[in-house]
Structures are given as structure tokens and as C-alpha cells.
């Protein structure tokens, strides 16, 4: 069990009672490093201890009852039971004396007692185990080597998992743009011809084709992203398919407005910009760029929680297997919040344990 802020009391009590082993004490001390307020609480508890007073009860003798003498009549009435107790060596000396006296006086009862005696089994010493030589051993494995090997394996598993995680997070920015642009491409190809065709105007000054503003159609449940439709007649020009291109969106009859760049949530370095049109007196519109980026981010976040080949799953599976093979405790556990983000991890080995907070990858970058 890992120590957390919701179960530390039992750990404190075990520590004060001396029931924690060396590894658990290390885990507790590591936990207190990150929770100084609880360290104070533990130190406060150590100061208060109750020691039992030496109190004696002087009236004990009055409570004692006399031990009844064995009753011959009672033994005769329960003779076979007493025979069983005798051969099981459960009778007291006075009871054995009375039983022997009864047996001396009555041959019939003696025969019954002998029958009970006959039920005692005797081991046949001629039966020997034939494979004894195979059972003997010459030496015990050196545990240090086993711990060292299993520790190396655990480190290798963690390194592999970490390298996997870092490789994904350090994917080049351009590649990410390309991947989101690919999604945008896909979105552009999903043309729905349910909207009144709009005219397409081409800017004389730019090679980038323009299209009319796209009315919002339906809301996608759960994501809050409004879907868009592009009239079939206004399919994009091939030039749009070039990566990273931006679009000017205009409303026919209204002068083109160069919108202010909008930073995508989570992207603060200015990459993956999209344009938002600010149209007085009308509803906000989403360009396809913004729609595609929001949709991609929502999908990525949803799938992150379902990802099987993640750092945590890989590390946990690897350490669990190492623990089974080495018969030593290895574990990596994490605490998550409601959104599934990890905010604390605990790593335990036979030699040491550590528990530390983790910054969520979704927290805003500073």
C-alpha cells in the first residue's frame, strides 16, 4: 500500500509502534519530505505517549474457584469418552488413577479400553523416501546478485518507457503542424452540400484563394465544437492543400477584414495560428483551420486516456513482471485527478521508495 494524504494516519501509527520495516520507513520519510506539515504532525504525536501503570488487583484470590475432584461415578457414566481421552493423553493424573482403578476391577471395560488402544497407529519405519539425494542442495543463491539483476531490469524498463514518452513529446513542431494540417485536409474533403452555395472570390493580390464565410450548422455533442459545411461548388482550390497556408475569409458584399491572429489553446509560441473573423452584428464564424485544430485537440485528449502503450502502462507491466520473477517488491503507482492527469507517482523497490508530485502535461506552459 502506498502512503498518501488520505491514509497517512495508519502509516504514522505503525511507525510509532515500530511495525514498519526499513523499506517502509524510507517511503514514509520520503513522503514527509514532500509534506512538511505532516512531518510536524508526526513529531507532535511522538511527544505524547501513554505508559501503562503498574496496577494490581488485590482481590484476585476471592475470584478463584476450587478444582473439583474427579468423580468415579462420572467416569463410569462416560467411560468410553474417558478411554478416548486417556489414549489421547488428555486426562489429568488424578483422572488417570481413577480410570486405571476402574479397569483393574472390570475385565470387560479393560477389553474396551484395549480396543481403543489398538486404534493408535504406528509408523512403519521401513517406508523410506527413495529420492532423498535429489533433495539435497549445495549452496544458496547470493541475494545481492538477484537484487542487482532485478534492479538493472527495472531501470531498463523505466528507461525504455521514459524514452518512449520523451520521443513523443519532442516531435518536431513542423511535424505536428503537418499532422494537424493532414486532419484539416481530411476535414476539407468531407463536403456537405446542405448549405446555400456561396460565391468564391479570389483575391487579386494573393495566390491564396478565398471563400465565403461558412455558416455554422450543428453542435457536436460533448466537444462544443461547431461543425461546418462547405458547399460542394466551393471546393477548395488545389493551392489550399499546401501546408501551413492561411485563408482570408470574407463575406460577400463586405470588405475583407484581416483578422487578428488567434492562438490555439495550449500553443503559445505562435505556431498553428488561425484567423478568426470578427463580423459586427453577426454570429461568430469558425474557419476550417480553427475547426480542424479544435477537433484534433479534442480527439487527441480523448485518446490519451485510452492509449494502451503509454509510459505508465509499460512501466507498470514491466515492473510487475520483474517483481514476480525476483520475488521482490517492485511497483510504480500513480494518483490521477478527475481529468485523468497524473499528479503524483510512487515508485517502490527492495532498496528504496520515492513518492513525488508530477506536473500535468496539460498544465499551461509558462
Amino acid at each position: 500500500m502506498n502512503i498518501r494524504r488520505d491514509n497517512y494516519e495508519s502509516w504514522f501509527l505503525d511507525y510509532l509502534d515500530g511495525r514498519l520495516n526499513a523499506g517502509q520507513v524510507k517511503i514514509l520519510m520520503a513522503f514527509l519530505e514532500f509534506n512538511p506539515d505532516l512531518r510536524e504532525e508526526l513529531e507532535g504525536m511522538e511527544m505524547f505517549r501513554l505508559d501503562a501503570d503498574e496496577v494490581r488487583y488485590d482481590l484476585k484470590a476471592a475470584l478463584l474457584k476450587p478444582v473439583p475432584e474427579p468423580d468415579r461415578r462420572f467416569l463410569l457414566d462416560h467411560f468410553e469418552e474417558y478411554c478416548l481421552l486417556s489414549i489421547e493423553r488428555q486426562l489429568s493424573e488424578p483422572e488417570e488413577e481413577i480410570l486405571r482403578a476402574i479397569l483393574r476391577d472390570d475385565n470387560k471395560k479393560q477389553r474396551v479400553y484395549n480396543l481403543y488402544q489398538s486404534t493408535l497407529l504406528k509408523a512403519d519405519k521401513n517406508i523410506l523416501y527413495p529420492g532423498k539425494s535429489r533433495l539435497r542442495r549445495r549452496f544458496i543463491q547470493i541475494p545481492g546478485i538477484r537484487i542487482a539483476l532485478s534492479s538493472i531490469a527495472a531501470a531498463a524498463v523505466l528507461f525504455l518507457a521514459l524514452s518512449l514518452m520523451f520521443r513523443k513529446s519532442r516531435e518536431p513542431l513542423a511535424d505536428r503542424e503537418i499532422s494537424s494540417a493532414s486532419v484539416k485536409e481530411k476535414q476539407t474533403e468531407e463536403v456537405i452540400s446542405s448549405v446555400t452555395p456561396a460565391t468564391v472570390e479570389r483575391s487579386a493580390t494573393a495566390a491564396i484563394p478565398v471563400t465565403t464565410a461558412i455558416p455554422v450548422t450543428t453542435a457536436t455533442p460533448g466537444t462544443g465544437i461547431r461543425s461546418e459545411s462547405i458547399p460542394a461548388a466551393d471546393k477548395r482550390d488545389q493551392g489550399i492543400k499546401a501546408r501551413g497556408m492561411q485563408e482570408h475569409v470574407i463575406i460577400s458584399g463586405i470588405k475583407p477584414i484581416v483578422a487578428e491572429p488567434l492562438k490555439h489553446p495550449g500553443e503559445t509560441d505562435g505556431s498553428l495560428l488561425a484567423e478568426r473573423l470578427s463580423i459586427p452584428g453577426t454570429d461568430d464564424r469558425l474557419t476550417l483551420d480553427v475547426y480542424a485544430m479544435k477537433k484534433t485537440a479534442a480527439n487527441r485528449k480523448e485518446k490519451r486516456s485510452e492509449r494502451k502503450f503509454s509510459f505508465w502502462n509499460l512501466a507498470d507491466a514491466g515492473l510487475r513482471r520483474i517483481g514476480e520473477m525476483s520475488e521482490e517488491p517492485y511497483s510504480l503507482e500513480r494518483e490521477t485527478d478527475d481529468q485523468g492527469n497524473t499528479h503524483r507517482f510512487t515508485f517502490e523497490t527492495p532498496v528504496f521508495g520515492i513518492s513525488a508530485p508530477v506536473k500535468s502535461p496539460d498544465s499551461p506552459r509558462e
Binding site: E80, L84, I87, E88, L115, Y116, S118, T119, L120, L121, K122, A123, D124, K125, I127, L128, Y129, P130, G131, K132, R134, L135, R136, R137, R138, F139, I140, P143, E327
Partner: protein
Amino acid sequence: MTVEEYNSCVEDHADGLYRFILKSIKDSAKAEDIVQDSFEKLWRKVREVSYAKSKSYLFSTAYHTMIDVIRKDGRMEHFSGENPEGPAHEKHYSDLAEILHRALEMLPHVQRTLILLRDYEGYAYSEIGEITGLNESQVKVYIYRGRIFLKHYLGSLQAVI
């Protein structure tokens, strides 16, 4: 325990363990496997089990393995308390021990096991309870019932003879 202590366990307890299992399941090959398996488990925990506790560890391990074997083989016995063949068929057995072991086979395996542990190895009721997972009262009741059956069986033979 040390390697020397482990090897002493082999010398001291292998025969007794084998005898106990063999009398319980009447199959020498399986009894050998169970004994070997029990010592293998002791070896794996050689650093955790002390020499003083090794005997009870071995018997406890062997007992539970034996129960698994019995269940796997479907050898569930029902105690009827009677010899279906009748006491007259035992006339040709002149050796009391042989008759006794024949009667032992007719006991339910729990009663048989407890009597073997009690008589062969001299375990106390509490120790038998630890090995078998029963409490002391249950151990006593099973042993007493087993002995009463054996006594009646022997008594009925004597009456015939």
C-alpha cells in the same frame, strides 16, 4: 536457515513426510512428487523459514498439495461408518496393523489425515490445526470420530472371530 540446516531437514523429515502422504493417498508416484514439491517450496523460502519451523512448514505444504491432488482426482469420500463388505471378509487378515490400515482407508480423508499426523508424527492438536487450517476443537472432534469408527471396526471383527 543455512544450507546445512536445509539438508538436515531432508534427512530428518523426508521419510516421515513421504510415509504420511503415501498412507493418505496410496499412490507412491504422487507421494514422491508431493514430497519433492514440498521441499522445493521450502528451498525457495530457505531464508524466511527457520529450521525449527521447517517440519511444520513441510507438512503444511504437503498437506495442502495433497488436498489439491485429491480434489483434482475427484477422490471425494463420503463417510458411511460401515464396511460395505462386512466384517466376515476380513477373516483372512491376521495382522492387526494390516486390518487397522484397511479400516483407515475407509475413513474420510480429513479424519485419516488427522489421525496420521497425530499418531505418526506426534503433533499436538494446535499444531495439527495449523497444518490443516482447522481449529483445535475441529481437530479433536475429527480424531475422536475416527477412533470411534476404528474401534467399532476392530470390535466387530473380534466379535466375528
